[in-house]
Symmetry: C2
Subunit: 320 residues, 2 copies
């Protein structure tokens, strides 16, 4: 065994050297927090800022019901992800179109996992003020996307903002008939939609698919994950960004295995077809993409790889 191999082995004795220094790092206890989790990039004349809302962890058991036995565990290992839990990270977007400040989804608010809930801190660290938000543009109605709009105690966090929602999503989750016929596991989502949007239902703007819903922002049909799940194409000058929303969960696992269905996909077959269509489109067009659940900063480009796809992360640069 070489010295190098031995050096990185388990047995390095850590006490060989005499103290060298007059300063003890122990006097400065290590901080543990990362830098504020925002990341800026440009799409033509638009400025996009990714705002992270922390993490939640799910058991691997049953997380991907249609993956072959052991395959999820292997994919986790291949990507140096935890062996015992699936990290789900949350990244919303702030889009400054030049004329409007638009939030695409709003994070968990105060109703997420204890390891989430950092959205407002990161939003303010990026220099934004909730009072200046013009539009809340929602991709779909799962709690981790909408709960940031209204706190547990009922407070609206962006009371001045226009609220724009996918018409198909609205029609489904606000229907008493759909709630009555839905499986029990979905009833909480129906109720939460009423909690968040009930007080402002009369003022909500419902948008259709394949429309320019705001200047330079077009809604793209991407149902399956939920009945009204929507992606957004941002186009400005030569800049293009496809906001992939929940087309995949963590791209490291689900872009490479696009036929795998996470438990969150309400209509797994439709979601699978949508996933392949959107990933293929992104690869063909070489468009920049963002994903709500990709590792922060959750943006890059899609390339084909094997029977699936990979996300090539955008290279970090100091300024946009």
């Amino acid at each position: 065994m070489s010295i190098t191999r031995r050096a990185i082995g388990a047995g390095l004795a850590a006490a060989a050297l005499a103290p060298l220094s007059r300063h003890a790092a122990a006097a400065q206890p290590p901080a543990t927090a990362q830098a504020p989790a925002y990341f800026r990039y440009r799409v033509g004349d638009m400025q996009v800022t990714a705002i992270n809302d922390g993490m939640a962890y799910r058991s691997l058991d049953g997380f991907v019901p249609n993956a072959p036995p052991g395959a999820l565990q292997q994919a986790m290992a291949d990507n140096f992800l935890p062996a015992d839990r699936f990290p789900v990270t949350f990244t919303t977007l702030v889009v400054n179109t030049g004329g409007k400040l638009v939030l695409i989804d709003t994070g968990n608010g105060d109703l997420g996992a204890p390891t989430s809930g950092t959205w407002m801190t990161n939003f303010r660290a990026a220099g934004f003020d909730p009072a200046n938000v013009d539009v809340l543009l929602f991709s779909h109605f799962h709690g981790d996307h909408i709960n940031g709009a209204r706190l547990k105690d009922g407070t609206a966090r962006f009371p001045q903002a226009e609220i724009m929602v996918p018409a198909a999503e609205w029609d489904f989750w606000t229907s008493d008939d759909k709630r009555a016929s839905a499986p029990d596991r979905l009833k909480g989502t129906f109720d939460n939609v009423r909690r968040v949007f009930g007080p402002v239902a009369a003022n909500v703007t419902r948008y259709d698919w394949d429309k320019e819903v705001l200047p330079g922002i077009t809604s793209i049909r991407a149902d399956g994950h939920t009945p009204g799940h929507t992606c957004f194409a941002l186009v400005s000058g030569t800049g293009k960004l496809m906001v992939m929303s929940d087309t995949t969960n963590n791209t490291q696992i689900f872009a490479r295995n696009p036929d795998w269905s996470a438990v969150f996909d309400q209509d797994a077959d439709t979601a699978r077809a949508t996933r392949r269509r959107m990933l293929d489109l992104a690869a063909t067009e070489r468009m920049q993409v963002s994903f709500y659940h990709a590792p922060f900063p959750a943006t890059g480009h899609i390339v084909r790889a094997g029977n699936g796809y990979d996300l090539v992360p955008l290279m970090w640069t100091p300024a946009t």
Copy 2:
């Protein structure tokens, strides 16, 4: 052509909608700076903080003399990197061993490109104070690694710190004979080494390879890039990190193409053998790695890919 394809095409008219909002984002001009560029992770009981020092840009012409014609350009396109220039990013490490605060390399100081020089701002943003640094541990003597130790006007930035340098690097760059026989393009490096280290030459600690130079930190021979170029194995408990220094420049290009030699490699053949040896070791051992010139935060794991390797970036998490 589908509506989706049309929507992301060049022709979206951006004026279709009436103004929706009472707030003009134009009142809040977009900030352009990213969050402070530090990133923390743990290696067993050690805490590592990556500190970025910005970027420099090189012409693609002649940057990889032994790449087939057009191949570098293709690799840049495959990784969605610029078509016209090579971005070189700089990331140093702060290692809190529990007993000592160690810097591994020091960045460009005030002698780098205008798009670099942000090291001290990021270091302070991460909560560190230059007065508390115990050790400067250098991998090699290129200016982007050592100039942060002494400003242009001669000021030492870490006057309290022990300075540790590779013996082979010291012997080469401080030799009058080596300078006399070196090609002209290297003479500036000889002179800069004297500028940085001359005033403290009597107090510099020269270390050998394959030694535990500080508790838990072992020097690994990795010459070729320069005569004394060194990697470092950090081991604490079950945590292991291989600090790859300049074993590759940008991993997106040079891990996948390990036989390509950037112009900075002084002995290209030796550097190529070192690169393959170190990348193979990292892949086999599944060790976490860091690279000085990988995209920030410049850490992850190495996997085999085609005739070369890929860096799988470490997943961002809110806290270490």
